[in-house]
């Protein structure tokens, strides 16, 4: 449980206080909504994808600090990257948050490893992963994603909830 103290470290608290890329893109090429019924987290994600590149990304919504900081850091991480890079990060982040990827080994997560501590807080894993599921849904043109009844975040039901 000491990890939860580690989790609420300065970088996460900072992104919670001053979320990056916060807002809505005017004419997005892709968008999706994410919802976590357990804690009421809601995210609206808008993207501008040109060719294969994520040119712009923004999020807004109401959520806990873990979710908001995760969304903020996610947008910063994928902006300017290709869809393929974003999908790679999505998979790696999911593996790390569920304890299947050791942040000390090879990956592309960079500072996103500050979320590694959620693996010890099963009820909070969804908070950290929700933005990534929403991004994955947006890139794959699914309107709404929910983590409802999602015991295993690997098998999040994706669809119109």
């Amino acid at each position: 449980m000491a990890d939860s103290k580690v989790l609420y470290q300065e970088v996460i608290l900072d992104h919670n206080r001053k979320p990056r890329n916060y807002g809505v893109l005017v004419r997005p090429s892709h968008q999706a909504d994410g919802y976590n019924p357990l804690c009421g987290d809601r995210l609206h994600l808008t993207l501008q994808v040109g060719g294969d590149n994520i040119d712009a990304i923004a999020f807004e919504g109401e959520s806990c600090a873990i979710c908001k900081a995760s969304a903020s850091m996610m947008t910063a991480a994928v902006k300017g990257k290709t869809r393929e890079d974003a999908e790679t990060l999505f998979h790696e982040f999911r593996e790390m948050a569920t304890g299947r990827l050791d942040p000390a080994t090879g990956h592309h997560l960079g500072r996103l490893t500050v979320f590694a501590g959620v693996r010890d807080l099963p009820t909070r894993v969804k908070c950290a992963i929700l933005p990534w599921h929403t991004l994955h849904a947006a890139l794959n043109s699914v309107a709404t994603v929910t983590t409802e009844a999602d015991a295993d975040p690997m098998h999040a039901p994706i669809g119109n909830a």
Binding site: M1, Y8, L13, L38, G40, C64, A65, T123, C127
Partner: protein, 419 residues
């Protein structure tokens, strides 16, 4: 974080020996990550005292067999103990007849029973069911399912900003199509004690029966179903120091007799043939299959335990905890209590400026403090108060003033992290 010494705090005026009571609850000595457990999630589920645990052990080690069936000694013993449990619970809520106590799996099951039997038989197209904004989902969804099936309509009693039902509005909801009222005795999310006796009298003037969801009332106050004159009263074992998977539905004999059975199976029949099955009388008609026998016996032991301490003494002591905790929380800048009804049980729902309740819950857990965060299965209520979620501290008679202090210190810690 340091917990101020209990001796420095005002002691409750009543001669309530909370330390002696705490010694009955083995789980209360647990440490969470090295910190003493401060269990403030009693509205979700309460803890079990040793006499209830002992009763369960005694039953499974020396009295268990199936009931109402065999002629052998153990079966007779189990049947006797099970029916004795029913008798104790009937007395606990002052039911007129023992067979008015139907064992269910819990409050949710009891409400579904009424919706699916009384509701399906007596509520039809265009009829109306009155609920309130304060209801737990378990006293909303069964009625919505019924309304959808029958083409009936749900009407909802609104609340004021304190979280109290607007009785004038309640009166206005009645019309000739009103066929049923379902109301919580105490709000699980806010702790508001609803004036159910008045509401029942109002409904009865119009010939409308009333179900009371008593899950949050029975552990905290003396409930007398005859005095309330409710038609149905549902409650759960695990919120009143009993086991999970057991609850009681009280119903007036005349109504229960008019209702069809809920589930079909063994124990609820007099005779079965492929031409015709004749149902058993009360209470067996509503208890298909082998019931949770140990659960029923454990629940009766819990009722005995609470009665031994005295529901009035429990009520008085918990009220002192509530007043102390309310005053302490109100002194914290940036913390707002949701639900400030004049009559409340010891439930404190609150929000902290700039901090999501889920973060509050995780950080309080680091201090060993167990609270509930979220919508408390009362989303319409959350919408009414324009909050996505709250943090809820819900007290039981085994909580102490020192634990209130631990909560306050914990909230200060949370605020420090998010400064």
């Amino acid at each position: 974080m340091s917990v101020p010494h209990a001796a420095l705090k005002p002691q409750p005026a009543s001669a309530f020996d909370v330390e002696r009571i705490r010694a009955d609850f083995p789980i209360l000595v647990l440490k969470i990550d090295g910190k003493p457990l401060v269990y403030l999630d009693n509205a979700a589920s309460s803890q079990m005292p040793q006499p209830v645990i002992d009763r369960l052990v005694c039953y499974v080690t020396s009295q268990h067999a199936n009931i109402h069936r065999a002629v052998h000694t153990l079966s007779e013993t189990a049947t006797h103990e099970y029916e004795e449990a029913r008798r104790k619970l009937a007395r606990f809520i002052n039911a007129r007849e023992d067979h008015e106590v139907i064992f269910t799996s819990g409050t949710t099951d009891g409400i579904n029973l009424v919706a699916q039997t009384y509701g399906r038989k007596f509520i039809g197209k265009g009829d109306e069911i009155i609920l309130t904004t304060l209801e737990h989902h378990s006293n909303i969804v069964p009625w919505q399912m019924l309304a959808e099936e029958k083409g009936a309509k749900i009407r909802v009693v609104p609340v004021n900003d304190a979280g109290e039902l607007l009785l004038d509005e309640y009166e206005k909801l009645f019309n000739p199509r009103t066929k049923f009222v379902a109301v919580g005795h105490v709000s699980n999310a806010l702790g508001t004690i609803n004036p159910v006796k008045l509401m029942i009298a109002s409904a009865h003037v119009r010939g409308v029966p009333v179900l009371v969801d008593g899950a949050q009332a029975v552990p905290h106050m003396k409930v007398n179903v005859q005095d309330l004159d409710c038609d149905f009263y549902a409650f759960s074992g695990h919120k009143m120091c009993g086991p999970t998977g057991i609850g009681v539905l009280y119903g007036k004999t005349a109504l229960l007799e008019k209702m069809p059975p809920f589930k079909g199976g063994g124990d609820m029949i007099l005779s079965v043939s492929f031409k015709k099955t004749i149902y058993a009388g009360l209470p067996n008609k509503f208890e298909a299959g082998t019931p949770p026998i140990a659960g029923a016996i454990g629940l009766a032991a819990a009722a005995d335990y609470l009665s031994g301490i005295g529901l009035n003494a429990i009520n008085t002591y918990e009220h002192e905890l509530l007043e102390y905790a309310t005053a302490q929380i109100q002194r914290l800048p940036g913390v707002h209590i949701i639900g400030t009804a004049k009559r409340k049980t010891a439930v404190l729902s609150f929000v902290i400026d700039g901090v999501h309740p889920h973060d509050v819950g995780t950080l309080l857990n680091q201090e060993g403090i167990a609270v509930r965060t979220g919508h408390h299965c009362a989303q319409p209520m959350m919408e009414r108060f324009k909050v996505p979620a709250t943090t809820r501290a819900s007290f039981a008679f085994y909580n102490t003033l020192a634990e209130v202090d631990a909560l306050i210190a914990g909230i200060r810690e949370v605020q420090k992290v998010f400064l």
